[in-house]
């Protein structure tokens, strides 16, 4: 994480032509079947996102935002088309390889925070590191560092129940960055939060984007949240506009 390099930037994070593409979708399609009924959720979708960009994805409910995000994050596979993320063609990866790739490349932020209730904040943040070779003591240190980044150094040993929604989401964000992924995907990260907590979370995401150069893809229904992103994309009936 090189904070210095991007701080010297001109203060905004608009995508720049010289930045390489980190996410590339070509002619992407995703079809679901409900029994015999065919549902083309994504159709002929092309998308290029440069590294270090903070993008918001909006669209009516059911337009396929979550589906697209899942495909980009390597959770779901497209029915048609090509997808390349962080230099990997995801279609070529086996399930195991995809899981490993995910654990190294993607940080997830969920609408409902999805923390494990029996674990403390620091243990929740440590989770992604359990899959790595990082030794136990180092894991804990890194988790503590991540919690410090999100401003929760005084809540390390609290359980999710003992935290406010805003704090829970910040733990969620700490978990998403602890393994230093290139890309953070956030599906309605402020959907459950009040205005103030939502603003804090968005400020945090901005910081991660600007200071730590994370590429962020955020689905949101909230225009104020979308405002904070550097690029706004709209998805309607399976197509980007």
């Amino acid at each position: 994480m090189s904070a210095e390099a991007t701080k010297a930037d001109d203060g905004h994070t608009k995508p720049r032509a010289d930045k390489p593409t980190i996410i590339r979708c070509q002619d992407l399609g995703r079809t679901f079947w409900r029994g015999k009924e065919r549902l083309d959720v994504l159709e002929e979708l092309d998308l290029e996102i440069p590294e270090g960009s903070f993008e918001a994805l909006m669209g009516p409910s059911g337009s396929g935002k979550t589906t697209l995000l899942n495909i980009i994050a390597g959770l779901d596979r497209p029915t048609r088309g090509r997808i390349e993320v962080a230099g990997k063609s995801l279609g070529d990866l086996s399930e195991a390889a995809l899981a490993k790739w995910r654990s190294q490349t993607i940080g997830f932020v969920f609408q409902h925070f999805n923390l494990i209730p029996v674990l403390t904040a620091v243990e929740n943040v440590e989770l992604p590191l359990l899959l790595t070779k990082v030794p136990a003591s180092e894991r804990k240190k890194r988790a503590q560092t991540a919690l410090r980044v999100v401003g929760l150094e005084d809540r390390m040993d609290h359980r999710p129940q003992q935290l406010s929604g805003g704090q829970e989401q910040r733990v969620g964000i700490a978990r998403a960055i602890v393994h230093d992924p290139k890309i953070i995907v956030a599906d309605e990260p402020t959907g459950e939060l009040d205005r103030q907590s939502a603003d804090d979370v968005l400020t945090l995401l901005e910081r991660l984007n600007r200071e730590f150069d994370k590429t962020i893809l955020m689905v949101t229904h909230d225009p104020a949240a979308a405002e904070r992103a550097s690029v706004l994309r709209k998805l309607d009936k399976g197509r980007l506009s």
Partner: protein, 394 residues
């Protein structure tokens, strides 16, 4: 935190359920250990019965009696039945405590001159034995029986006759202790002559009869041979006999409970199977509740095998905890009760303690079955579709 830690921490999720589940396993295990201990005590009990003491009874049935002259023939012919060292006879009296009628104990009318020679494993202090021989209405009781009814030497005791009706008055003259574990320490023995003389008028046909004759064999003699020789001796008489060692008798008696023992055996298995099914259901339920969490773990890059191992680990942990808790309950409970059983039912259960292999088997079975109970939930959890799982709001 480690992967194992994560798996085990899941048990804390719902403390009440975890405690109840562990308790359920523990109690199932207690029942299992209890039955197993009983079966073990039962089957080994016979091994502790005397091998050098023979019992001679009516060939047709244990409940039919023999003429007393048989004893004299046996006793008077030492040497003619080779291997017999000493003989005595006794009658089952069937007396009851007049108030505490439910509390069973053996009451036996014995030949006082010879009884304690043959039953040398019932030790009576010499002065008490002498005093007893002098008193026609004297009785000698086992130490456990004395304790049970609070009797001591010199007490007058009245028993209710069942086979021989009426109130029977005795004075306790002695208390015997056991020198071997397999000796019944709750017997009440008194003079056969007292019984015989008392029934002369009321039940003349019952006089001069004995229930059975006991003999001790010479060291080195073979019980089976001596028994055969005794039976051969009465072969030509009106009443034939059947003679066997106490151990053989004990085994035969236990053998007659074969069906019950087999049933208990099956029940102990059934208890564990029921435990496993309930455990499987509980684990399945708690796994279902965590579908969304498992989705998150899968998203973070955990593999289906990790999820399956978490569930298995949880099952094994419950099995281990329940197993240990079960043993913690079993030891004081069963061994405590066992001590009482040894004291009061020593003739059948000279040893009633949890055998170590039963304890180990129980613990391993608890873990094995808990592991098996977790297999299906673990398999199902490992088949989870990450997208579906994440769609479920946690």
């Amino acid at each position: 935190m480690t992967l194992v830690g994560l798996s085990v921490k899941n048990i804390r999720r719902n403390r009440l359920r975890a405690v109840l589940t562990v308790l359920g396993v523990a109690i199932a295990l207690l029942a299992f250990v209890f039955i197993r201990t009983t079966l073990d005590a039962w089957s080994t009990g016979a091994e502790h019965a005397a091998q050098d003491r023979l019992g001679t009874m009516h060939k047709v049935s244990f409940t039919m009696d023999l003429p007393r002259t048989y004893f004299e023939e046996l006793d008077g012919t030492r040497g003619t039945v080779p291997g017999v060292k000493a003989a005595t006879y006794q009658n089952w009296f069937g007396g009851k405590h007049p108030v505490r009628e439910q509390e069973f104990f053996a009451t036996i009318a014995v030949h006082s001159d010879t009884f304690f020679d043959v039953y040398s494993d019932m030790a009576v202090p010499p002065d008490q034995l002498a005093a007893w021989k002098e008193d026609r209405q004297g009785a000698i009781v086992g130490e456990a029986l004395a304790k049970q009814f609070g009797w001591s030497v010199g007490d007058d005791v009245t028993l209710l006759g069942t086979i021989y009706p009426g109130d029977w008055k005795f004075t306790i003259r002695g208390i015997y202790s056991a020198t071997r574990r397999a000796v019944d320490r709750t017997q009440f023995v008194f003079h056969w002559t007292y019984l015989n003389e008392s029934i002369k008028d009321t039940m003349p046909e019952q006089t001069e009869r004995v229930g059975w004759i006991s003999t001790v064999i010479e060291p080195g003699a073979r019980g089976a041979d001596v028994a055969q020789a005794i039976d051969a001796k009465f072969e030509e008489h009106d009443v034939q006999t059947r003679t066997m060692s106490e151990r053989a008798l004990s085994m035969e008696f236990m053998g007659s409970f074969g069906a019950i023992l087999t049933a208990l055996d099956v029940v102990s298995g059934v208890i564990l199977v029921i435990m496993m099914l309930i455990l499987g259901n509980t684990i399945a339920m708690s796994v279902r509740e965590r579908t969304n969490e498992h989705g998150v773990l899968l998203a973070l890059g955990f593999r289906p095998k990790h999820i399956a191992l978490f569930v298995m680990g949880e099952g094994l942990a419950i099995g281990l905890l329940g197993g240990l808790a079960g043993l913690c309950l079993s030891y004081p409970f069963i061994n405590g009760m066992g001590r009482w059983i040894e004291d009061n039912m020593g003739a059948w259960f000279p040893y009633f303690q949890i055998p170590i292999d039963v304890a180990i088997t129980a613990l391993l079975l608890a873990m094995l079955l808990a592991g098996l109970a977790a297999v299906i939930p673990a398999y199902r959890a490992s088949r989870l579709d990450v997208i579906d799982a994440l769609r479920r709001i946690g």
